[in-house]
């Protein structure tokens, strides 16, 4: 199994750490993983994106132009990455702030109102975990227990108390993701 994912959004949306948790979760179930961020000043204010690959084999190139799944969290990223989903692949997005919705018909499109749900949950910080949950509903490539382990590994000890809240957010995402 190899799953090639792009996660793309604004700088502050927790895109990179979401990717990191996914990667850690992969490690917890003994997979090979690669996490490749966009970097440099383009991140400033603007978009941030990260490629995450989970695989049972050694990963060759961490730089991809085509993805099994694109998780898209703002309009710029939609413009850039809708076309990068492999035919038959998945595009998951949060419609908040999206002005031009995805139009491809050869891929499966899902949406998750994560921003809204995060506000409802009273913590903007859970946003990316809700998105992660939504993704895992569509592609259950890592077991929930490994997500929790991955969270533990990726968060500094002082943040461990927030793990239950994060797992709750993941659960929320599983619940609210919807097919377009």
């Amino acid at each position: 199994m190899t799953e090639e994912i792009i996660i793309a959004g604004f700088g502050g949306q927790g895109v990179l750490s979401m990717g990191k948790i996914l990667a850690y979760s992969g490690i917890m179930q003994d997979q090979e993983v690669a996490w490749m961020p966009s970097y440099g000043p383009e991140m400033r204010g603007g978009t941030a994106n990260v490629t995450v690959i989970l695989s049972d084999e050694r990963i060759s190139s961490p730089i991809l132009n085509q993805f099994d799944t694109a998780i898209i969290l703002n309009q710029q990223s939609m413009d850039k990455f809708e076309k990068a989903v492999k035919p038959g692949g998945i595009l998951l997005y949060d419609p908040n702030g999206i002005t031009r919705h995805p139009s491809r018909t050869d891929i499966s499109i899902y949406r998750v109102q994560a921003a809204e749900a995060a506000t409802a949950m009273g913590s903007a910080k859970t946003f990316n975990m809700i998105v992660l949950g939504a993704f895992l509903k569509l592609k259950p490539i890592v077991k929930m227990e490994n997500v929790e382990k991955g969270l533990t590994k990726s968060l500094p000890a002082r943040h461990h108390k927030s793990i239950p809240m994060n797992m709750e957010a993941v659960a929320k995402g599983l619940e609210i993701v919807e097919k377009v």
């Binding site: 604004f10 204010g45 603007g46 703002n74 309009q75 702030g97 002005t99």
Partner: protein, 73 residues
């Protein structure tokens, strides 16, 4: 005596929602929108009509997105 009134035009697509103008306005004219622009910023908006056209907001706006008018009425 003529009263001074003013008005500002904010280029909301270029506004980055930094709130620096807001802090600088003596008339508390400026607030931040709930909406985001295409860059994802909660841009500046006018929240009242008390502008006196002092240009403070425009002068401190790092992105130069405010145009100011002043008139005696």
């Amino acid at each position: 005596m003529a009263k001074i009134t003013g008005d500002i035009v904010i280029d909301i697509e270029k506004c980055k929602g930094c709130e620096v103008c807001n802090t600088a306005c003596p008339q508390e004219v400026i607030g931040m929108s709930k909406e985001v622009n295409s860059k994802g910023y909660n841009y500046a908006i006018k929240v009242n009509g008390n502008c006196v056209g002092c240009a403070n907001c425009a002068v401190v706006c790092p992105d130069g997105v405010i145009t100011v008018y002043r008139a005696k009425v």
